[in-house]
Symmetry: C3
Subunit: 147 residues, 3 copies
Amino acid sequence: MKIHKERIDIESKTQIEFLDVTDKVQDVIDRSGIREGQVLVYVPHTTMGVAVNHNESMLLQDFMRVLYKIVPVDDQYSHDLFELRREAGSSDGRSNGHSHCKAILLGNSETLPVEKGKVFLTDRQSIFAVEFDGSRKRDIIVQVIGI
Amino acid sequence: MKIHKERIDIESKTQIEFLDVTDKVQDVIDRSGIREGQVLVYVPHTTMGVAVNHNESMLLQDFMRVLYKIVPVDDQYSHDLFELRREAGSSDGRSNGHSHCKAILLGNSETLPVEKGKVFLTDRQSIFAVEFDGSRKRDIIVQVIGI
Amino acid sequence: MKIHKERIDIESKTQIEFLDVTDKVQDVIDRSGIREGQVLVYVPHTTMGVAVNHNESMLLQDFMRVLYKIVPVDDQYSHDLFELRREAGSSDGRSNGHSHCKAILLGNSETLPVEKGKVFLTDRQSIFAVEFDGSRKRDIIVQVIGI
């Protein structure tokens, strides 16, 4: 049984963005040498989520529209007042209450099986690191456990 | 440390359906011989989710009603236009934008502990593979890791 | 490869509450002696969820407000009729249909990497057991796998 973990760099160009990290996840599995087991995709951030679904550009628009409907950007978020107050003494205060709320609905991680050295995905599945407070550079964690 | 993985067949009878797979998951654990560890329940599909909750028929109706309220079937989904265009050359084009949107809210997998050879569930918990684009046959993946 | 599992006691004081269990999770990792691997945080309950986000009191209010907006407590839940009927012969019948519905949106578990003996969290991340049907005492499961 082996464990192999890597940090992966990603970069979003817009505020909310579904970043397809499937190939990068597979690269980590390749480097791990693990053939049977699991891969954990984890975002160590409070305004990002992980999702596994179809990388189809119009569907990604639907996901964003649904998430914005549930958590509108123009609602009042108490957290934004907290960040405003911090801003005097902190360079990363952002009005991102809505980003946190979207993030907890998706969750911080997904675990997928690894079979014969490949992440177990069917044709229409992709793994996404979902940015809710871009654009910016971030890192995510990919950890493989298995034999 | 052992790893044991199986594909399980399921079949839904309606468009949206909570399929209780608890017994099938336990069967896989039994066959694995693993006594202490974890079981991963994973749906390799883009219009299914996994949930763990109470198998009580009126509660399942509540879940469906809440999910339909968040993601109404009669909204416009851009993905449905994509599938319409595909349909000419593809037999599985479906107007299922809403199904994908419901699926990402539940997520593709759940991991549960295994203790003394049993999946760790209290009396009122069941494991569900949740179909959002039935009726149809599907397979899901159950993977056990442990000793 | 080792596996170490513990039951942790928690107690909520209000109906919906984000209970920060980060320190308790770290204590389990410490006692496990595991340095590299994963930790699974799992709630064996049908009206609780797990979330990882920023422990900032105004943000927690935002989370609750969003969850109550999606799943209003004053909607009709069929499950409440089921519990009412049970109540004659059962001491734990509760009008908690909305609690179950909130719980499935968060999910029952989160898996996080463990690095150099520490759960992999950045400064603003905390692990929450989220109670949707308090106040009461509960237990949650923390399981560490690794080397």
